[in-house]
């Protein structure tokens, strides 16, 4: 028992076992969804409206709704998030305000998603009278992904070497010119990574859109940003808990489309990051 080599072997075995306990279920989840969802995927499923109380037909309105929501969220969150990141990396001094901003970002990223839903309901739907609409949902999702965009953009901006800035300033460029023409172009891949990760998060979240936009069943496509819309994650929730006797294939198919959408975005983000790291000049 007092043999250190042997206890090391035992310990490492258990650490390995713990790792398998995480990795194997993740693999299984993905495999099960692909295996059972793939037979449901065909052109009709992707392009038709849900039929017979959502038991057959397609999921087209839900796909479109999710795309609208995600686009709306990013149009709102990207400019604010990027400028906030520029402020934190280029302008902020290490003082009390800066520390409060950091704390606020940490907090925003920790607020439960359903609380964002409540907030969106109280502010956008009721107080500003946008009603349950794509606008309310997008703004709610936008605020939710703001911390992701700020944090990743800030890291990207801060990783641009200080000497780049000094050279630009010494050539007579102003601070904003330096940021605009030197710092930002070099930080673009990092900002893009953060943006795409934010998109993926917004596409998969259900709780924030429950009371701000999501429609249970809406066969036509939304015509303006003040319309309600269906959304993929909410649709999956509805057909797996609220509607009885839905064909298993339809459920797995919907799960597969949602999972593919989210994982595809994450994959793109990972590839951009990987290429950027390889090409980095400094």
């Amino acid at each position: 028992m007092r043999n250190p080599q042997r206890s090391q072997k035992i310990a490492f075995f258990f650490l390995f076992l713990a790792t398998l306990l995480i990795v194997i279920p993740v693999g299984l989840i993905v495999v099960i969804i692909i295996q059972k969802g793939l037979p449901a995927i065909n052109w009709q499923f992707l392009s038709d409206i849900p039929r017979q109380g959502m038991r057959t037909g397609g999921i087209f309105p839900a796909i479109i709704g999710t795309l609208y929501l995600v686009m709306g969220a990013i149009i709102f969150a990207l400019p604010i998030g990027l400028l906030a990141a520029i402020y934190l990396s280029e302008y902020a001094k290490d003082n009390i305000i800066n520390r409060i901003i950091r704390l606020a970002i940490v907090n925003l990223s920790g607020v439960p998603s359903v609380v964002y839903g409540l907030f969106g309901l109280a502010l956008f739907v009721v107080f500003l009278k946008f009603g349950a609409s794509i606008l309310s949902g997008s703004l709610t999702l936008g605020i939710m992904i703001l911390p992701i965009i700020i944090t990743t953009s800030r890291e990207a901006l801060e990783s641009v070497p200080q000497s780049f800035r000094e050279v630009s300033l010494s050539l007579g460029a102003s601070k904003w010119q330096t940021i605009r023409h030197i710092v930002l172009p070099n930080a673009i891949p990092g900002v893009l990574t953060g943006t795409i990760l934010g998109l993926g998060r917004a596409a998969g979240e259900t709780a924030p859109i429950l009371f701000t936009v999501a429609a249970f069943y809406l066969p036509q496509l939304p015509k303006s940003i003040f319309d309600q819309a269906m959304a993929l994650p909410y649709h999956l929730y509805v057909i797996s808990t609220q509607v009885p006797n839905v064909d298993e294939k339809v459920r797995y198919g919907t799960a597969l489309v949602l999972l593919s959408l989210v994982l595809f975005m994450n994959l793109v983000a990972i590839i951009i990051r990987y290429n950027f790291r390889k090409k980095k000049k400094w």
Binding site: I22, V23, I32, A84, V115, L146
Partner: protein
């Protein structure tokens, strides 16, 4: 002209920099604006410690103690499962795994973090719930235990990645010193590296738990949603988050029920605030 333009741009940047503070305050204001109205009809004590939650009966019973117990039980279960496994996995990735496997494992963890909670909830419903039902011979598999297992998987990516960061940032010299004194790799890990990274690991665990308490969809789909104080982990429970998500659709805007759900939102907001601020303190302690 250029000066003026830059002046405005820099002001705009400053405003956006302050936006996150603005939003946190705005969230808190709107939660309290709606939520505090509930205390006209129920005292804060009865709200927090009342044993029954019947929001639509006459008169309404608005005690959230069963919901708090539901959240705590599910969270405790998830913590017991995810903390040892998560920390062990972090140690494996940071210290033992060969470089290639390490990259694959990290990608796998990122994959897990990216799976939407509604998808995990769905998978839990079709695989885990029937398994729990038949294994423990229960009338229903929608139990706190099922919720705990699924939530453990949602906490693990957070725990693993932050704990791995903490282990990675322990100075190399600590490890070399321990090796030079003749310690084995495992002795170095648990006598030197783990204590040195402890505050980062505590932060990782706290943030993981924060994620669990705030999780909504998966929990609503697989815990059975019974708003009673649970007697064991094998019965249906209902959490704070699931209550809001499940009932807000039916609550009339401006009703007592509506205000009560916002008051639950305040409770959740304050919980996540405390967890995140404390975790941040632990993380910064490490950096100093």
């Amino acid at each position: 002209m250029r000066k003026l333009k830059e002046f405005f741009i820099e002001k705009l940047i400053l405003i956006c920099g302050l936006a996150s503070i603005f939003f946190v305050v705005l969230i808190f204001l709107f939660l309290t604006k709606e939520g505090l109205s509930v205390f006209k009809s129920v005292t804060p004590g009865n709200f927090l410690f009342g044993k029954s939650w019947y929001p639509i009966s006459e008169p309404a019973h608005l005690g959230i103690l069963p919901l708090i117990f539901g959240s705590l039980l599910v969270t405790l279960g998830a913590a017991i499962i995810s903390i040892p496994i998560g920390v062990a996995c972090a140690v494996y990735i940071a210290e033992i795994a060969p470089l290639k496997i390490k990259e694959i494992l990290k990608a796998g963890i990122e994959l897990l973090a990216a799976i939407p909670s509604v998808v995990l909830g769905f998978i839990g419903m079709v695989t885990l719930v029937p398994w729990v039902k038949s294994t423990f011979h229960l009338p229903t598999g929608l139990t706190a235990l099922s919720g705990s297992i699924i939530l453990a998987f949602m906490a693990m990516p957070t725990i693993v990645s932050i704990a791995e960061d903490a282990l990675y940032s322990v100075p190399k010299s600590y490890k070399e010193g321990a090796f030079a004194l003749g310690a084995t790799h495992w002795q170095t890990i648990y006598r030197v590296l783990l204590p040195a990274a402890s505050s980062g690991i505590v932060a990782a665990v706290m943030l993981g738990i924060g994620r669990v308490i705030g999780e909504t969809m998966a929990v609503m789909m697989i815990t059975g949603n019974a708003a009673v104080i649970p007697q064991s982990i094998l019965v249906p429970v209902r959490t704070l988050t699931a209550t809001i998500a499940a009932e807000m659709g039916e609550a009339v805007v401006g009703s007592e029920h509506y205000f009560a759900l916002f008051a639950i939102g305040i409770v959740l907001f304050i919980m996540s605030f405390i967890i995140n601020v404390t975790a941040d303190l632990f993380l910064h302690k490490r950096n100093r």
